[in-house]
């Protein structure tokens, strides 16, 4: 299956620079930040993911697309071991995080350690019913940060990183849930950024937002690529085309095709991918 090809193979196929990527045309792809190797996942007896092997390139946006129920969110939630919160779930295979070669799915690796390195933004904005400041600072607080100046600096930097600072700087101590939907989602992004994660996971981050808020989040994701590696699940193919450098098409728990986004959208190798992209299916 093409999807199993190693990252080096992708390099030979690159026709041009991914949108927004720093690398000049024809150069080697950016180094790997993580790699899923033969990952299978079971909800009880149901196998939701079937032996997925896929690279995640550093400082790039990788989009996971596919019809509902294809396992894209399940796959994403393996990267921060969210499935460990619920009984009856089982992983097989590994997700290796570089450069230290840690297998995130290893039983000996604490899921809390994984979540400290891999942060997440959810489908529905889920700010805590606390102040804007405390929302952003929470990740630092669980890491034991008590220094007021450090917290202040980090909160400001994260809110700036999430393009929210100018809108909320005068009311940091107001409740976060009073913000608009798009602002709440940017607050959640700031919360995820505050702890300097290595990978940031987005699970359909704009599906609850209006088009204007969606545009601002997409713009933000393109910006954030400079500082963090991004994996995004989206059911909106235009969004995948707009924000991502790489795209993975999944169907029924399998990775059908993984490639540079422009290749997936303009010259997919698999007929299934083409059918989905062109709207004949899904």
């Amino acid at each position: 299956m093409e999807a199993r090809t190693q990252p080096t193979t992708h390099a030979t196929m690159l026709g041009r620079t991914p949108p927004g990527a720093a690398a000049p045309a024809g150069s080697a792809p950016p180094p790997l930040k993580a790699e899923s190797r033969g990952l299978s996942f079971h909800y009880g007896k149901f196998q939701a993911l079937k032996s997925i092997t896929m690279p995640v390139h550093e400082h790039r946006v990788t989009a996971l697309i596919g019809p509902s129920g294809c396992g894209k969110s399940t796959f994403l939630r393996c990267f921060n071991r969210m499935h460990d919160l619920y009984p009856g779930n089982r992983y097989e295979g590994e997700i290796v995080l570089y450069p230290d070669n840690t297998n995130l799915l290893d039983r000996d690796v604490d899921p809390i350690e994984v979540r400290m390195r891999v942060s997440m933004v959810f489908q529905k904005p889920n700010p805590f019913p606390k102040s804007i400041y405390e929302n952003v600072a929470y990740g630092l607080r669980v890491r034991g940060v008590k220094n007021r100046n450090l917290l202040d600096d980090k909160v400001e930097a994260s809110l700036r990183g999430a393009a929210l600072w100018d809108e909320v700087k005068g009311r940091l101590h107001e409740v976060g849930s009073n913000l608009s939907g798009g602002q709440q989602q940017r607050l959640c992004i700031a919360r995820a950024l505050a702890t300097d994660p290595e990978i940031l996971l987005f699970d359909e981050p704009t599906s609850a937002l209006d088009p204007i808020a969606t545009a601002s989040i997409e713009e933000l994701i393109a910006e954030l690529r400079r500082q963090v590696t991004i994996l995004i699940v989206t059911h909106n193919m235009q969004q995948a085309a707009r924000v991502s450098d790489y795209t993975a098409y999944m169907y029924l728990g399998e990775l059908i095709e993984f490639d540079r986004t422009d290749t997936i959208f303009f010259k997919p190798r698999r007929k299934e991918t083409e059918d989905y992209i062109t709207g004949r299916f899904g």
């Binding site: 969210m82 919160l85 809390i112 959810f122 889920n126 805590f128 409740v175 995820a192």
Partner: protein, 309 residues
Amino acid sequence: MTYVAQTPEQIRGLIAKAKRRDVAFVALGVVALGIGFATFVALFVDMLIDGWARLSPEFFAQFPSRRAGQAGILSAWVGTTLVMIVTAAVAVPLGVAAGIYLEEYAPKHWVTDLIEINITNLAGVPSIVYGLLALGLFVYAFGLGQSIRTAGLTLALLILPVVIVATREAIRAIPGVIREGAYAVGATKWQTVRDHIVPYSMPGILTGVIIGMSRAIGETAPIITIGALTFIAFLPPAPVTGDFPFLSFEWLKAPFTVMPIQMFNWTSRPDEAFHANAAAAGTILVFMTLTMNALAIWLRYRLRKHIKW
């Protein structure tokens, strides 16, 4: 021949028919509400009229007496207040901790299912059974005496299921995405419980606590069973003393009476004058309960103001 209303006349006829059902249901609801409300008002007003003459500051400041005109509820309201303090101090931490454990930590299998069914059933056990249990356990086995601490522990057991169930329901009302949001930034289970689960479920827990306390404050049977006095003309030792360390817990060991027992005692006397005393005490007991409920509503409103998902 169509089966669906199509002409404007048919549609209007359909709407009119459906709306008549609305009216019928509203009428039924108003009657049901009226019966409940009228019963409470009638009971309360009747009691208020009977006891009105006895409601005076002295009534609160006097001990019971053989002369109805001089008898007061000092020992009863002090006893009720102290017993309630012990009840809350025991039932709230135990019930909240048990609820949090069951909801957040306990593995979900048949043992926890069994425990859950048992807790729900415990809430329906007659209070006299708790009284008998307390008599055997606290009074005789532990030797705690017929004291305020025994009464407080007994009522705490009685309302524990209510507090546990309320805690669990309040925790379940917290959306899963909020919990996941906390875990996603690397919080441990305890950090999630301490920083999110407990504060967000506090309004619901408080409501449960007050409902339980409102039940406990009117309980007579278990308190009589453990041997509360019906006539007591002295107060427990004061909790604050003039000497170091200025706090005393001797009052926990003191004999006591409570409001419902004082009322029960007065109503069982042949002298009509004592019945007025009972009505006055009953009015005050209702006010104590209403005050607690009002406090609960106010606290819930204050705490919930900032909690929305």
